[in-house]
Point group: C2
Chain length 195, copies 2
DNA sequence: CTTTTTTATTAACGTATGTTAACTATTGTT
DNA sequence: AACAATAGTTAACATACGTTAATAAAAAAG
């Protein structure tokens, strides 16, 4: 069951890991379960872990001054999620992570992260590749946010992430796209008319 | 003159590099100069380098289907810039990089990047830290794009990056903020009234 | 099953930003 | 210095999306 993570690592590194490397790493992980609606990371508190989802769904969000929540990222089985700002700086979290379903994660704390990166260069490489991909995807998403209208963005999202359309409530998808739920409703209705 | 990069690396790693480590790395770099308006990276062609700016300014942009250009990132002395999508995948660039002033860069090609990361784990670490910071900043920028109006975003930008306000034309700053130059003009006028 | 809570829909109206177009200011070129 | 090209401003009008509010549908809880 932990092996979904091992194969994730080996796929990114494009090679198999020596068994003792992975063992060293996996001994630093803790398993934890959350109920639906539980907060995995809470804004205002230090976020001392990164989380690898092995079961369930959750999402990262930020709350603005008006008290409105904005979904930034969704995660299901095989995704890492956390407030990286807080994790890497040690400052208070500006994001929250909340479970959308009963969710199981493998968690790695800051010290263990440092240890594994210092001890096994393969893990520095692994996390670099993760961040590389995340950065490229995020930059592309921002480009689309600044150039396409909400309908186009919704269609691209639905095509790229059909699993999220299934498992994430529509008001959070609207929020992720940078619009209100009413607007997404309107967009979907207009689209269904045109069919 | 190359040492602006060395100190950049040592600042991120939070330690001094063995002199032979840096020498190994810097021998893989090429220096190149561009005139104002030159394309450093051209959309549609492979982007085979990452660029560290030692002099001048340039910016990364993407052109949408309607032919409109969207500024994604600015870089002046001490910044890395490139189309990382193309650089890491080997596919055709979807972004361009263009000089806004006469600009000097140190460039590192894909093979050399691989070599230095494979040979010196410190560089995997360095590029992980770079990407980490870039990801965190980009995620925050997207959060603001989805939650604040253009006036607020402009004010935050001007405060955080006064150098760019000096050296980058206003229509590119508008584009970076996700609005049209006319809108930024209006915002600035309204603000000056309220003073 | 029934009730309550949460999520989604719809419609009328408001607003920030886009569009078009004309004009001015600035910068670069001969 | 004169001219051309680029960048910035302004204003009238258009539009995508936000706001408010009422209702309906679906999911969770008793």
């Amino acid at each position: 069951m932990i092996d979904i993570l091992k194969s994730h690592i080996e796929r990114l590194l494009n090679r198999t890991l020596p068994e003792n490397n992975y063992e060293f790493f996996s001994n630093l992980l803790f398993e934890k379960s959350f109920d639906k609606k539980d907060l995995i990371v809470e804004e205002g508190k230090q976020c001392n872990h990164i989380y690898f989802v092995t079961e369930g769904t959750c999402y990262l969000s930020i709350t603005d001054e008006k008290g409105e929540e904005h979904a930034m990222q969704f995660a299901l089985e095989g995704y890492w999620i956390s407030d990286l700002y807080s994790f890497f700086s040690g400052k208070k979290a500006i994001y929250s992570v909340k479970a959308l379903e009963p969710t199981k994660v493998l968690m790695l704390n800051r010290d263990s992260f440092q240890t594994v990166c210092d001890t096994l260069p393969a893990f520095d490489r692994y996390f670099r590749l993760l961040l590389q991909n995340a950065f490229i995807a995020l930059q592309y998403r921002l480009a689309k946010t600044n150039s396409e209208d909400a309908e186009h963005r919704y269609n691209e999202f639905a095509k790229a992430f059909p699993q999220f359309i299934q498992r994430v409530p529509q008001y959070l998808i609207a929020s992720y796209l940078g619009i209100k739920p009413q607007s997404l409703s309107r967009i979907r209705k207009d689209a269904s008319f045109r069919k």
